[in-house]
């Protein structure tokens, strides 16, 4: 019993001392600290962060200021995320950079005096105008589903039946509804299959209709994690898997129209630079990404029965640069 008591007192004191020590650690002068909050640990986050840091270091190169990045990952836990924001608030970091919609919402609730530069969130000028905290600017990577459908229709004019696999993610939901509307416009029937968790994907992939001519996925973190499962189905049925991000194409999807994750980060860096140079975040226009690329995996396209000639000519028609990714 005594041992437990000592252990407990020691632990409590140790933690408190540790807390004070770390707090006492003041950063040297002429340093700009940027607190980055990633909600989950996925490759896309790493690429966004790499793009952001790389570009900001590049842009800030001439100045005599050291930029320190503190990257914290919430591991999908809301309590951890809240703790991270509270710490950034109290450490008075010079800028807070949340990634994604829910991180943005929490940042706006907690952070008051520091500028917020949000990456990859559904947040518009109208949202900012209504928000009680307006000290924020953001880069929205919402791939316009309408543009994707226009491209797909051009690249595969005979497409009449498409299967859309998606998850209950906040960004995805509106896109799925948009997809249904766009599909109708081009006379495409959509089979919508929702997964609740990654382990559902295998079962759901067996439900893909036999007359489906292609599988389409959005920039949907959960589904993207399971791309290999869908690649197998696509190969077995000789139909293309069409994605919305470069990572999925590297993992074996035939092609994708979208923005690169790295680009989201580096575009965000240019917003961050304006804020660091003294423009209040509220005056930095919210940017919606429009630099679309077409990502092609030639090897996958071959096994998935894709007419690459049509895909590249569609890319030319829309003047989207083509990037080949063949790391299957």
């Amino acid at each position: 019993m005594n041992l437990v008591r000592k252990l407990v007192i020691g632990l409590t004191m140790g933690l408190s001392v540790l807390a004070f020590n770390v707090m006492a650690d003041k950063a040297p002068q002429k340093t700009v600290t940027i607190g980055i909050v990633a909600p989950v640990q996925i490759p896309a986050m790493d690429q966004i962060i790499a793009g952001f840091e790389g570009e900001l270091n590049h842009l800030y190169d001439n100045n005599n200021v050291r930029v320190v990045y503190v990257v914290q990952n919430a591991q999908g836990d809301m309590n951890i995320m809240r703790s991270i924001f509270l710490q950034f608030k109290n450490q008075k970091v010079d800028m807070v950079v949340p990634i994604g919609t829910s991180a943005n919402q929490m940042a706006l609730s907690i952070i008051k005096d520091q500028p917020i530069v949000t990456l990859a969130a559904a947040f518009t000028e109208a949202d900012r105008a209504k928000s009680p905290n307006k000290n924020v600017t953001s880069i929205s990577d919402e791939v316009a589903v309408s543009k994707q459908f226009a491209f797909i229709h051009q690249a595969m004019p005979n497409l009449k039946y498409l299967t859309l696999v998606y998850s209950p993610d906040d960004r995805i939901y509106a896109q799925v509804q948009q997809a249904s509307a766009d599909a109708k416009k081009y006379g495409i029937t959509i089979q919508k299959l929702q997964i609740q968790q990654l382990s559902d994907l295998y079962t759901v992939s067996k439900r893909i209709n036999t007359n489906s001519q292609a599988i389409f996925i959005l920039k949907d973190e959960m589904v993207v994690s399971g791309v290999p499962t869908l690649v197998k189905v696509a190969q077995a049925r000789n139909i293309p898997l069409i994605a919305s991000d470069d990572g999925s194409v590297s993992s074996g999807a035939a092609f994708a129209v979208g923005v690169s994750e790295r680009q989201i980060g580096s575009d965000g860096a240019s917003l961050a630079l304006q804020v660091l140079n003294g423009t209040p975040a509220i005056n930095v226009p919210i940017k919606i990404m429009t630099d679309y690329n077409v990502f092609i995996n030639t090897k996958a396209a071959e096994t998935q029965n894709v007419d690459l000639g049509r895909v590249t000519s569609a890319s030319n028609a829309f003047s989207y640069p083509v990037i080949y990714l063949n790391a299957v």
Binding site: M1, V4, R5, V8, T12, L15, S16, L18, A19, V22, M23, Q41, Q72, N73, A74, Q75, G76, D77, M78, N79, I80, R82, S83, I84, L86, Q87, N90, T101, S102, Q105, M106, L108, S109, I110, K112, D127, K130, S131, P132, N133, P168, D169, D170, I172, Y173, A174, Q196
Partner: protein
């Protein structure tokens, strides 16, 4: 500041932690349903308030939602005769669909909606802390008086000796339903408060909530009992204080781990290991106690 941050986070979680104390320690049943009812509360509140319903009505509806969910879990346990742990896991499973249907989308933003805690948080920080502290104290004594009352005594009898309850002519199911209902109502309240503070209700916001609560209750009660009580005796005040301490320690650890730059990948592992230590010593000391009694 870390200490205050942890305190603020603990105070918001007080309803949940006290609710879990009610089921885990008083009724001696393991109920993980708060993972779902936490979201249920937030979902009902967010959906109603963004549809123009008043804050008070939205909150009451959210609380009722939690209460009903608790009753449903009781029905699963007693009528369908499903093991309590499995019943609660099933309930969380089903609540996912219900929460989704209520939210009608995976995430409702409350940033543009005026909410009590949201407004307080935007105002004076000290005042905000004081108000949630007062609220937590009121809740604390509410639960304290409830369990101390003659009614609460029968509650405790359910956890200690169900057969006695039946012999006294009381219906155990009634007490289980009430306990689970109350506990889940508090989880829903916690969800409402969290949604207001964080500025959104999200379908995935409940992950791991019940375990956080159980962790706080186990660590806190164990600590307070070893520090202030002779082995074998029971004091409700010490136990409830333990719940607060446990919650506080949990959030303090979370904050300190982050502050010292522990790779977040290992954060859950560390917290989990610590919890395992406390859970296991709890069992050992109980065994020792029993062994002593046998002698």
């Amino acid at each position: 500041m870390v200490l205050i941050d942890a305190l603020q986070q603990t105070l918001i979680f007080i309803p949940l932690i006290l609710g879990i104390y009610l089921t885990y320690q008083v009724l001696a049943t393991t109920d993980l349903t708060p993972d779902g009812t936490f979201v249920l509360g937030a979902a009902i509140f967010a959906r109603l308030i963004t549809s123009g319903v008043s804050q008070t009505v939205s909150t009451i509806a959210a609380l009722l939602g939690g209460l009903l969910a608790g009753f449903a879990v009781c029905a699963l346990q007693r009528i369908a005769k499903i093991n309590s742990l499995i019943a609660s896991i099933l309930a969380v499973f089903m609540l996912y669909s219900i929460n989704f249907a209520i939210l009608n989308q995976p995430n409702i933003s409350l940033l543009n909606t005026s909410t009590l805690l949201g407004n307080l948080q935007n105002g004076n920080a000290q005042l905000f802390l004081l108000i949630i502290l007062l609220f937590a104290i009121v809740l604390f004594f509410g639960i304290f008086l409830l369990i101390r009352s003659p009614f609460g005594l029968t509650f405790r009898a359910f956890g200690v000796n169900k057969k006695l309850l039946s012999k006294l002519g009381k219906h155990p199911t009634f007490y289980l339903a009430l306990g689970l209902g109350l506990s889940n109502m508090m989880a829903a309240l916690c969800g409402v408060m969290t949604a207001q503070m964080n500025g959104y209700a999200d379908i995935n916001m409940g992950v791991g909530t019940a375990l956080t609560g159980i962790g706080a209750v186990v660590i806190g009660c164990k600590l307070m009992r070893t520090l202030f009580l002779n082995s074998g005796s029971f004091s409700l005040m010490i136990d409830l204080m333990g719940c607060l301490l446990g919650g506080y320690l949990y959030f303090l650890m979370l904050n300190v781990f982050l502050l010292i730059g522990l790779n977040p990948i290992y954060l859950k592992l560390c917290l989990g290991l610590l919890l395992a230590v406390f859970l296991s010593t709890a069992n050992y000391s109980q065994k020792n106690k029993l062994a002593l009694q046998d002698d």
